[in-house]
Amino acid sequence: MPAGEAVRAVRDGDTVLVGGFGMAGMPVELIDALIEHGAGDLTIVSNNAGNGDTGLAALLAAGRVRKVVCSFPRQSDSWVFDGLYRAGKIELEVVPQGNLAERMRAAGAGIGAFYSPTAVGTPLAEGKEVRVIDGREYLLEYPIRGDVALIKAHLADRMGNLVYRKTARNFGPVMATAAAVTIAQVSRVVEVGELDPEAVVTPAIYVNRVVVP
């Protein structure tokens, strides 16, 4: 499916989960198509908040993003985000990376909420419910659901089963479970039966659209 057609699933006001850790696993062509598509007022959930002037940074620069939920927005080349944030033009929710991953997993797994060991006693615990379990403090964390997930994998078969490459796997498999519609950008589509069933990382049930840029 062409990228432009695939990203039509994104509507104004949607929460979009965007894979990648730095550039590894970042679905750049899908983001470019999303910019072209024009949907706005988006909440973007991703580990970072864009680098340089392309990809996520270009989406931000185009004024399409209302809020960013991420673990690490501030980087040496995150000038687009930095400028919007300092100008008060974008909201930010900073989430510890492990909570970010686990909250999306919870969304995909039907968990209503969970008690997390991370951030207890820190400023990021503010406003969160604390509970002592077996003598240790935990914070209550809620699921993060996406309307759409944009991820990058290595190969897909024609059913939509996915395998990834090395550390580009990162958030892709978790985001695929947490969104109503998952769009995967892959290097190549292979025939059904070519992927080893023992090595499939994201089963096809989680994948709605596959794009080969």
């Binding site: 730095g22 590894a24 985000f81 510890p96 990376q97 492990g98 991953a101 991370t118 400023p123 490459r165």
Partner: protein
């Protein structure tokens, strides 16, 4: 400092090296030590930094630098990687710090400056997850103030989580019993006690 830290990592340990200075510890691990490096972005048995033809954009460390893969490596997704960290399966993690308190509180993610853009990454997950948290830092800030303090003034990353502090002038062991000077470099425990607000043993 990295060499001193490396000496304290048990053979066969599973270790996460934080961004920056801690990554240098890898170079001082004894060949054959069997130490396995974890990177938060989903890999065990990470190898040294990649150079030349080895560079692969799909294979990076937590600092987003290209790295290599050692035989026996495995890849996993982010939720599995942080489950490994938060579930207490890593033996040691090594991080930098702005401040460490005498009771092992760690402050390393934010200076608390009002105009700073907050960014935490995996630091809070590592702080509470590893069996032992080692900190590497200079003992004194540029303005001369000690970074090993009675109580952190910077925002916390984790509470009562640091067990060892490696600095340019001394190594400290932290426990519920207090702070113990393990080793000094070009100074004495007496001189350190005079410059720190923390009781030393």
């Amino acid at each position: 400092m990295a060499e001193v830290v490396a000496r304290d990592i048990p053979d066969g340990a599973y270790v996460n090296l934080g961004i920056g200075q801690p990554t240098m510890v890898a170079s001082y691990l004894r060949p054959g030590s069997g130490v396995v490096l974890h990177t938060e972005n989903g890999m065990l048995n990470m190898g040294p930094l990649a150079t030349g033809d080895e560079i692969d954009p799909d294979l990076t460390n937590a600092g987003k630098q290209p790295v290599t893969e050692l035989p026996g490596a495995s890849y996993f997704h982010h939720a599995d990687s942080f489950a490994m960290m938060r579930g207490g399966h890593l033996d040691v993690c090594i991080m930098g710090a702005f401040q460490v308190s005498a009771t092992g509180d760690l402050a390393n993610w934010s200076t608390g400056a009002p105009d700073a853009i907050p960014a935490v990454g995996g630091a809070m997950d590592l702080a509470i997850g590893a069996k032992q948290v080692f900190v590497m830092m200079t003992l004194f800030a540029k303005d001369g103030k000690p970074k090993l303090v009675p109580s952190c003034t910077y925002p916390l990353t984790g509470r009562a989580c640091v067990s060892r502090v490696y600095t340019d002038v001394a190594t400290f062991a932290l426990s519920p019993d207090g702070v113990r000077v393990v080793e000094t470099f070009g100074t004495t425990a007496g001189e350190l006690a005079a410059r720190l607000d923390v009781p030393l043993s």
